[in-house]
């Protein structure tokens, strides 16, 4: 208990030290809660009022809740892998905690709770407004709310426990020094597959169904039970609680969760005591005194001088560090989502195709912003604690920022230009828009990369342990805002040629004076919007002081 209180005090201190940050977070959370609550209530109301569905409305809602539970459970199960390895077996405070007058079981119970909070806190937090919305819409009794919350908390404990057990197996069987890499790769591959898989289902096809077909689909869905599984237990508990009852499933759910968590704590303590965690240690050295020369691919980079040496170093680190290269898998999944979405438009009239193509320009910008938040924005902060080597080296902050920008740009250009071209082909756009699409892709890729690198340099987080946590900051929010603003600005700038393409399909806008002027304007805007954030980033980075930002 002392150990738990100790952690609670640490959290309280961090809130006191950063009240603005936590207040902003609270406002953001309130907005998200309101959004989820609103959508849930609208969804439940829609089902209740859908013609001729009356008798199965509850079953459909319950199956939907089960599906949500299942999805979030899977997400938790795979994200918990790396968390469990870090928290349970290689956290810095483990030795200190084990030196306290507390039993191994107590220490590892705390670690299990920590793992639970790290992996399942957010999914649980965002499931709650769904439950609240359901309760409000169904006029549930007060007892429903604590029971519903308890069911969700118990439900997510199961994937945490299963993921932690899987982590234990990985630790036991992985080659020494490679367990974190394997766990990260498994987690990210699963996340990428999940994103892509969900998109491949193409939910927009539902809108093409007639009311009769939709009703038939709902009836089938209502009969489709996941079966005797934790999500169905949880949804059973929630549904019974709506009527003020506590079903047997509640006992099963709570019992299984508790037993699994205790099992994890016991096994973790055992694994630590028996030395199973040796696979976390580095590989044994092989004595090798050969003088290895630079690799052939390094040479072209050295043409960029000092910036080139940073690029070589960064590329090596990118492909050796799983927390970095795994971000590329998410990038591939997002590109896949974009292509599937674009190819799903089935429109025959050229005007509509061009209209969709115009909207698509903005969508492309949004996608690039989403990719940039994982590739461009963290690239300066990824120097981590090694930043002192650059800071004390004979290199200006502008050269550091330039190196980072040049390294992040090719992937973004390839993505922006490639997807722009692919969209033009898939949507069969008229010539004016077919050219506007890749132009928009290249412009957005360049500017968004610059915003990402520039703001990432202006607000670095060298203490972050994972690239994914770097953008979770005011700088990251500013990056997203400015990137989306640029995507919108670019779409507005291209609205005129788009309108021309729709109104005069045979008019090749870009071959005329107005087209060339607009192209010139786009180039000027792109150059300015690229240079400004890079200068800002260089200026701020030169003045960066640890702990001051």
């Amino acid at each position: 208990m002392t150990v738990f209180l100790f952690r609670l005090t640490a959290f309280k201190n961090s809130v006191i030290r950063a009240p603005i940050l936590y207040s902003v977070g609270l406002v953001f959370l309130a907005l998200v809660y309101w959004g989820i609550l609103f959508l849930t209530r609208r969804g439940v109301r829609f089902l209740d009022q859908f013609p001729a569905i009356g008798t199965i409305a509850d079953a459909v809602a319950q199956r939907s809740l089960e599906a949500l539970f299942l999805l979030l459970m899977l997400g938790v199960a795979f994200s918990v892998l790396t968390t469990a390895i870090t928290t349970l077996y290689s956290s810095e405070d483990l030795s200190f905690l084990l030196s306290l007058p507390a039993s191994g079981l107590e220490v590892f119970s705390l670690k299990v709770v920590e793992t639970y909070l790290s992996a399942a806190f957010l999914p649980a937090l965002f499931t709650l407004p769904v439950l609240i919305g359901l309760g409000l819409e169904k006029g549930a009794p007060l007892i429903y709310y604590p029971i519903g919350i308890a069911a969700v908390l118990a439900l997510y404990a199961i994937p945490v426990a299963i993921g932690s057990l899987l982590a234990l197996i990985l630790i036991r069987i992985s080659p020494a020094g490679r367990v974190k890499e394997i766990a990260t790769a498994v987690s990210v591959l699963f996340a990428a597959a999940l994103i892509f898989g969900l998109r491949v289902l193409r939910p927009e096809r539902l809108s093409a169904l007639s009311p009769g077909e939709f009703e038939l689909l709902l009836q089938r869905f209502a009969r489709f039970e996941i079966g005797w599984s934790p999500p169905s237990w949880a949804s059973e508990v929630v549904w019974s609680a709506l009527a003020g009852r506590v079903p047997n499933a509640a006992v099963v759910l709570a019992g299984v969760s508790l037993i699994l968590l205790l099992l994890v704590a016991r096994l973790a303590a055992l694994a630590y005591r028996e030395g199973w965690i040796r696979s976390l240690d580095s590989r044994p050295f092989r004595f090798d005194s050969a003088v290895r020369r630079p690799a052939f691919w390094e040479t072209p980079f050295y043409a960029f001088g000092r910036s080139g040496s940073i690029m070589v170093k960064d590329n090596r680190l990118l492909f050796r560090d799983p927390t970095q290269w795994s971000q590329l898998l998410v990038l591939v999944a997002l590109a896949g989502v974009y292509l599937v979405s674009t190819s799903s438009f089935e429109v025959d009239i050229q005007r509509f195709k061009d209209a969709v193509g115009t909207m698509n320009l903005m969508f492309l910008g949004f996608l690039l912003a989403g990719v940039g938040v994982r590739t461009a924005y963290p690239i300066v902060s990824l120097e981590g604690e090694g930043f002192w080597m650059l800071r004390t080296g004979p290199i200006a902050s502008s050269q550091i920022v330039a190196a980072k920008f040049l390294n992040a740009l090719p992937v973004m250009l390839l993505l922006g230009g490639g997807l722009g071209l692919a969209a033009a082909e898939l949507l069969d756009l008229s010539p004016t828009l077919a050219l506007a699409s890749p132009i928009a892709g290249f412009s957005a890729a360049t500017v968004i990369t610059a915003i990402g690198v520039g703001l990432g340099a202006a607000y670095p987080r060298f203490d972050a342990t994972n690239p994914a946590e770097i953008p979770l900051s005011p700088g990251g929010l500013l990056y997203m805002t400015l990137s989306l603003v640029y995507a919108a600005l670019m779409t507005i700038m291209l609205a005129y040629p788009a309108w021309q393409a729709i109104e005069r399909p045979d008019y090749l806008f870009w071959m005329h004076r107005e087209g060339m002027l607009l192209l010139l304007l786009l180039v000027v805007v792109t150059v300015l919007a690229t240079a400004l954030p890079l200068f800002f980033g260089s200026y701020r980075l030169a003045r960066y002081e640890p702990g001051a930002s």
């Binding site: 050295y302 000092r306 090694g386 004979p394 290199i395």
Partner: protein
């Protein structure tokens, strides 16, 4: 070689370094000593360009660390107290990166010579993440010396080193100064400072409490046989009531 003139560093309301001035000449090893919180690390960070002074000037071999930072840093070698190096690079790759960054022509062969000197030649192709603390410290020394800097700044040089390596480092610091270079070190080890340093600066509460050779410091406390530890304890104890 190192000129510090009226250096002030504030962190908000906290005055970490209060208008200190000193010089370290070519061919000299200068030890910067002081109790915890005296301002040693802040001074070192200002010297190496890790943080910017609130006011005052610092020149390394004639170049100002703020207005002419790139030139100043080209003349600097730095060994931090916590040798954080990119864990996913091998020792050789790290030195290649730093040699290129610092424009060292024959970086590859120089690195190999240093690997042999510190007994790391068999591990140069291994990832740094597998190195012990001492091996990292040695690698950090190589990284600081690879470009033969005019000024070498070392923060806690002996942390994690085995006795043989510690001896090597002591000899290296003295030998490096004999080549006409300037060495500035901070340490809590009075033995190291007394053995290696030509002059000592004692910082306390952000100000210079004492400065001079061992003989000069002994004269200041009026004890001709005093060792550095006694001098340190006496000087810092005297300063406490005055500052409070």
């Amino acid at each position: 070689m190192i000129e510090v003139h009226r250096l002030v560093k504030r962190y908000g309301k906290l005055l970490a370094v209060n208008e200190i001035s000193f010089e370290a000449r070519a061919g000299e090893v200068l030890a910067l000593l002081g109790p915890n919180g005296a301002g040693k690390s802040t001074t070192i960070k200002c010297l190496t360009g890790l943080i910017r002074p609130s006011s005052g000037n610092i020149r390394l071999a004639g170049s100002d660390v703020v207005s002419d930072a790139v030139a100043a840093k080209a003349k600097l070698g730095y060994v931090p107290d916590r040798p954080y190096l990119y864990p996913k690079l091998t020792g050789r790759e790290l030195l290649r990166f730093l040699a290129r960054l610092r424009g060292v022509e024959d970086g590859e062969s120089l690195a190999q010579e240093w690997f042999v000197f510190f007994g790391l030649d068999g591990f140069a192709n291994e990832l740094i993440e597998g190195y012990s603390h001492g091996m990292r410290q040695k690698l950090t020394f190589i990284a600081a010396l690879l470009h033969d800097p005019e000024v070498l700044v070392i923060d806690e040089p002996m942390v994690g080193l085995d006795p043989r390596a510690a001896r090597q480092v002591k000899d290296l610091m003295a030998g490096y100064a004999r080549k006409g270079r300037t060495v500035l070190l901070t340490t809590h080890s009075m033995d190291v400072a007394e053995t290696v340093a030509d002059r000592v600066i004692l910082l306390n509460r952000g100000q210079i409490a004492a400065e001079g050779t061992m003989e000069e410091l002994r004269l200041q406390i009026g004890h001709s046989q005093a060792d550095l530890e006694s001098i340190f304890l006496q000087m810092t104890a005297e300063q406490l009531p005055a500052a409070s």
